[in-house]
């Protein structure tokens, strides 16, 4: 981590809960996360661990019956949890944008690409002249390397392939040069061959626009390629955070170690794939200790009753685990 870079997003103690008939689900249980300018942070975890909910919480799009119940999200000095919806709308799409997972369901099927891009551009950039708008639309489409932008413009989403649709999504998200781009599983719904293209596109684009990116995925391979730092999430909490190389070289949290071990690597001989035993805990039941305790091979009694605090074990490398109490205080960076 380069010192001197300013943080653009600082999440502290974020808690998001869903109030259902059957009980209250704590999707996010006190998340601490920072994103600096011009960096890519990866958020990795299995399905249901809360990574998408982090993204939705940042944009205040948490669906009913959920809401943010605690913590703060500072975006360049403004606490966006305290903004009203009008102010929030000024941020959405313009300063923070989001790409959703499945491009097939994320584009409005009854409007053309031109209409959808035009809507966003004219809204945030106050462009109303038709010709100018079209020019900007074409520009945006070329930016995401779409080959025949004039004809794509006039098409409907269902007429495009998955990869093209995802590029359109990226165009929509980056058209107004946001400071932060959140990409929620941007390649999961795509063919493997297209995945690489889209990831490279993303990397290049954010470098050009100078945005930061928060990349959410369950795929460690994807973050290894694209991200400067990685956070590992489990059951609504961030359990480890480090720079990419550091994380892969010396994973500290048992969950991280399990994830990395489960990943078959090319050239390695394996008889069986390693599996982390057990299943994700029920987020409706509050648990006082570490959320990973039932699946951890090295759990102790303390792990069951005391929640581990976030410790900086080495510069830039944070872990929440009783096995690594060294490093002193919770460091707030």
């Amino acid at each position: 981590m380069t010192p001197g870079r300013k943080p653009i997003l600082e999440i502290r103690g974020l808690r998001t809960q869903f109030f259902l008939q059957e009980g209250t689900v704590t999707a996010l249980d006190g998340i601490d996360l920072t994103v600096y300018e011009r960096e890519s942070v990866g958020i990795v975890g299995e399905t249901g661990c809360g990574k998408s909910m982090t993204a939705f919480s940042i944009l205040r799009l948490v669906p009913h019956p959920g809401r943010i119940t605690g913590g703060s999200i500072q975006f360049k000095g403004i606490d966006i949890t305290k903004l009203d919806l009008d102010q929030m709308r000024g941020i959405r799409g313009k300063r923070i944008s989001m790409i959703f997972q499945d491009p097939s369901t994320s584009l409005d099927p009854v409007f053309t690409i031109r209409q959808q891009l035009g809507e966003v551009i004219s809204l945030h950039q106050n462009v109303y002249d038709r010709a100018q708008l079209d020019a900007r639309i074409l520009e945006a489409l070329r930016l995401v390397r779409i080959a025949a932008p004039e004809s794509v413009m006039r098409q409907y989403p269902h007429e495009l392939s998955g990869g093209m649709k995802q590029r359109v999504m990226i165009a929509l998200a980056l058209s107004c040069s946001p400071e932060l781009l959140i990409a929620d599983e941007p390649t999961t719904a795509l063919d493997v061959t297209i995945q690489a293209q889209v990831l490279n596109l993303l990397k290049d684009l954010i470098r050009t626009t100078g945005s930061s990116m928060m990349l959410i995925t369950h795929n460690l391979g994807v973050v290894a390629e694209t991200c400067d730092r990685i956070c590992i999430m489990y059951a609504g909490r961030i359990v480890e955070e480090a720079e990419t190389f550091e994380l892969f070289a010396s994973p500290l949290h048992p969950y991280t170690q399990g994830l990395l071990a489960a990943f078959p690597k090319l050239g390695e001989q394996k008889d069986e794939l390693l599996v982390i035993r057990g299943t994700v805990p029920n987020l409706m039941k509050p648990f006082p200790g570490c959320s990973f305790v039932d699946r951890c091979d090295r759990a102790t009694e303390k792990c069951r009753s005391v929640r581990p605090t976030r410790m900086e074990v080495s510069p830039g490398h944070f872990v929440s685990c009783h096995l690594h109490p060294s490093g002193g205080e919770v460091s707030r960076v």
Partner: protein, 313 residues
């Protein structure tokens, strides 16, 4: 646009067998009547000579497929036979129908307008205020109105507005706007219940969809998210049933015209039934069947125009 045209052509071609089947069924209706088909086609107290003449005229002695062929020939030239009913004897059925056609179309048109202008906003409102007071009231309203057969709703309106309040005329076209409003309202409100429910459930589904959340994440104002995007998506399933609605309206028109003595095709048919005037009844059924088929066709085309995904199908 080209795909829309090919879609229209395909639909037209598919409609042809439907039309033929409809004419076949209408043709066969004659043979469903009790007794000798001739008696359905002759005035009461006809002499044997008259009966023979009628048999001759309608070709009842020909083999069935010849009869059907002649039937098709006749109707394609607009000849729907002559009335044998009291008061309209010997008048061509087609002229009886054409003079009333516009009345029925007017009634159906206004009824449709009322139904949709009530149903769609109410459905949206119910969806946006799901499970709150407005929603529950609207749901109860739809439940009750849906359970009312058109003729009863019509009679109720008749009682209320004509008999007791004396605001509106009870029958005929004499009152201008006043006389069409009650029958149109009856039709409109009767169908509004279904429209409301469909709109509501469609809207509820759409606002939970990913692309709506995506739109919000782009900073689009909520009003546009709902009324520009969600609405356009949600209205599609409602439009798919316009064709069925039209069918319902045609049937409903028969009933409502009878209640209010509105001089349209429906009333003509009812009077024809009472007068045992089979040619008139048959003619009306045929015309109404065409209405339904054409209505469905127009609705399909309109739907393809609005939802581009359908044109491929």
């Amino acid at each position: 646009m080209a795909d829309l045209i090919s879609y229209v052509i395909r639909k037209l071609l598919l409609a042809i067998p439907v039309v033929i089947l409809a004419t076949l069924i209408v043709f066969l209706l004659l043979y469903l009547t009790p007794g000798d088909p001739v008696s359905a086609l002759s005035p009461p107290h006809a002499t044997a000579a008259q009966l023979d003449a009628i048999r001759e005229k309608w070709g009842l002695l020909d083999p069935p497929y010849v009869q059907y062929g002649k039937f098709l020939w006749r109707i394609s030239h607009g000849d729907l036979g002559t009335s044998i009913g009291f008061g309209t004897r010997d008048i061509a059925v087609s002229s009886l129908i054409t003079e009333r056609l516009s009345n029925t179309l007017m009634l159906m048109g206004i009824g449709l307008a009322i139904s949709y202008s009530m149903g769609i906003p109410l459905g949206i409102l119910a969806a946006l205020r799901q499970n709150k007071a407005a929603d529950r009231v609207i749901m109860v309203f739809t439940l009750v109105t849906y359970a009312m057969p058109s003729f009863w709703l019509g009679l109720l309106f008749l009682l209320l507005f004509s008999v007791y309040l004396g605001w509106l005329p009870a029958e005929g076209t004499t009152g201008g706007f006043g006389s069409i409003i009650l029958p149109a309202m009856t039709l409109g409100i009767g169908n509004a219940a279904l429209t409301t429910r469909m709109m509501r459930s469609s809207m509820l589904e759409v606002i939970r969809m990913d692309h709506i959340t995506q739109l919000r994440s782009r900073g689009i104002p909520e009003r546009e998210v709902i009324f520009k995007h969600a609405l356009k998506n949600a209205i599609l399933p409602v439009i798919t049933v316009i064709g069925l609605d039209i069918g319902w309206f045609v049937g409903g028109a028969v009933v409502v015209e009878t209640v209010f003595s509105w001089p349209g095709i429906g009333l003509l048919m009812t009077r024809g039934i009472l007068n045992a005037d089979f040619p008139v009844v048959q003619g009306c059924i045929l015309v109404m069947a065409f209405f339904v088929i054409i209505g469905n066709l127009m609705a399909d085309v309109f739907y393809a125009y609005v939802d581009p995904r359908v044109r491929l199908g």
